[in-house]
């Protein structure tokens, strides 16, 4: 994380005084400027209000943080599970493994469903990205990428392309063609360029824009056609491990979670960090919006999953059990949002009742840790990808 995309020292003529000296590349209002260190100090002093110094700013940030906590605390008049006491408990679920997708030669790191509810794409540690038909278990397409550890893959909304990225620091888009003999790898197009690994990617509402999260601590929005960076999102102080777009058609916000234990909600157009939640005790591995778009859940290495409401601006539920000591790597909601499926590093999937906060069921079957889980777009099935080289479809 040391090479985050701002504050890197370079040498050259200063933008302000034109003297050649070591430059500080900093961002002001999302514009990059290269000033020599003297000009930066002059500018910083001018930007200060009367009497502001480093210590006074520190004090102000402490008081603001306390005030935020107080404001949030005032609104906690009742807990979510108390409100949900009168709701009927979830009936016993009869979810079992219905399909096992074998074919990857190494750990499967990521998967995504297609909007047609039957196809899915998965990527693995050996650099292979496979598109499967979930009903028939046919492998429809296979692409081999030159890098290992393809940690992120996503299906385009139209179903005509997939995006994948990982240790190559890039996210590439591969158009899928109906012609089986065509070499898909040749048509691969690099869209995103980060300075560290790509941990997550997602298409926005169209095939034209791609949102990526990276180990360099930033998230970025790219135009697929030109590869241009449309917006970058700075604010995390460590690797960003996951992102999820808000579900509505007009939505233009997304949430990201990272190793700094924070989950941030961003406005896609302005790049502004709208809300920030810091209650986990370890890295956040996965974040997912609630189907209504007013809340989101996160899974973390501290063995808990937490539920945050965006309008109340606070955590409203924690899903944990003393017997669960392994980190959670992935979460997803069922269609109505009543069930939260969470995959853990102890090879199981726990199903939680979102409203009441208790565990409803445990799904066993994988032989190694779960890396990713996703509910199908129509809610009929759940697919889990695991380090045991397989994917399982549960229904």
């Amino acid at each position: 994380m040391c090479d985050q995309t701002f504050l890197a020292a370079t040498f050259g003529p200063c933008d302000n005084c034109s003297k050649a000296s070591p430059l500080m590349n900093i961002y002001l209002k999302n514009e990059p400027i290269n000033y020599c260190s003297f000009c930066v100090e002059m500018m910083a002093c001018q930007g200060l209000q009367k009497g502001e110094t480093l210590t006074s700013l520190k004090k102000e940030s402490e008081t603001l943080k306390k005030k935020l906590e107080e404001e949030r605390g005032k609104l906690t008049d009742v807990e979510l599970h108390q409100v949900a006491e009168k709701v009927e408990a979830v009936a016993a679920l009869s979810i079992k493994t219905r399909r096992v997708l074998k074919g990857h030669g190494n750990k499967v790191l990521c998967m995504d469903w297609c909007k047609d509810k039957r196809r899915l794409v998965s990527s693995s540690q050996d650099g292979k990205v496979i598109v499967w038909d979930g009903f028939t278990l046919n492998k429809e397409h296979g692409v081999t990428l030159p890098c290992t550890w393809v940690m992120a893959c996503a299906y385009a909304p139209s179903g005509c392309a997939v995006a994948c990225g990982g240790l190559d620091n890039k996210c590439s888009v591969v158009p899928l063609s109906l012609d089986r003999t065509e070499n898909l790898a040749a048509k691969k197009k690099s869209v995103a360029m980060h300075t560290n690994y790509v941990s997550g990617c997602s298409f926005t509402n169209s095939d034209m824009q791609l949102l990526t999260s990276s180990g360099d601590g930033t998230c970025a929005l790219w135009d697929v056609e030109s590869g241009q960076l449309l917006q970058s999102f700075h604010g995390h102080t460590a690797d960003v491990l996951s992102l999820d777009l808000a579900p509505s058609e007009t939505g233009n916000t997304f949430v990201s979670g990272g190793c700094d234990m924070k989950a941030n909600v961003w406005d896609m157009r302005s790049g502004q960090n709208i809300q920030s939640f810091e209650s986990h005790e370890s890295d956040i591995n996965c974040v997912k919006y609630y189907p209504s778009g007013d809340a989101f859940a996160s899974a973390s290495d501290d063995a808990t999953c937490r539920f945050y409401d965006l309008r109340a601006d606070r955590e409203v539920a924690v899903y944990q059990k003393d017997s669960i000591i392994f980190g959670a790597s992935s979460v997803d909601f069922s269609l109505s949002g009543r069930l939260l499926f969470a995959g853990y590093n102890d090879y199981t999937i726990n199903v939680w009742d979102v409203l009441k906060g208790n565990r409803v069921s445990v799904l066993f079957g994988h032989e190694n840790r779960i890396s990713r889980l996703r509910v199908s777009p129509d809610g009929t099935a759940l697919c889990s990808a695991s380090w045991d080289n397989t994917l399982r479809i549960w229904a």
């Binding site: 603001l64 404001e71 609104l75 009742v78 409100v83 709701v87 009903f135 209504s292 007013d294 229904a395």
Partner: protein
């Protein structure tokens, strides 16, 4: 100079906190009721919650009749 970069970083943090402090918040009781309502409204359309029969769910195997 590191003090200048600290200043710039601190100003950013303070600006961000001021912004976050001004966000409009709703009471948890209200938010919880809304979440609960959404769940209950959509519960019937949720196949994983209610369970669907083999005929409608393409992933479940169809029961085959055996003639004895």
């Amino acid at each position: 100079m590191s003090s200048a970069s600290n200043l710039v970083a601190m100003k950013k943090v303070v600006r961000q906190l001021r912004f976050e402090a001004s966000v409009n918040r709703v009471k948890v009781s209200q938010a919880a009721v809304d979440l609960q309502q959404f769940c209950l409204q959509n519960a019937l359309q949720d196949p994983l919650l209610t369970g669907v029969s083999s005929s409608t769910n393409p992933f479940r195997p169809k029961r085959v009749c055996i003639f004895l």
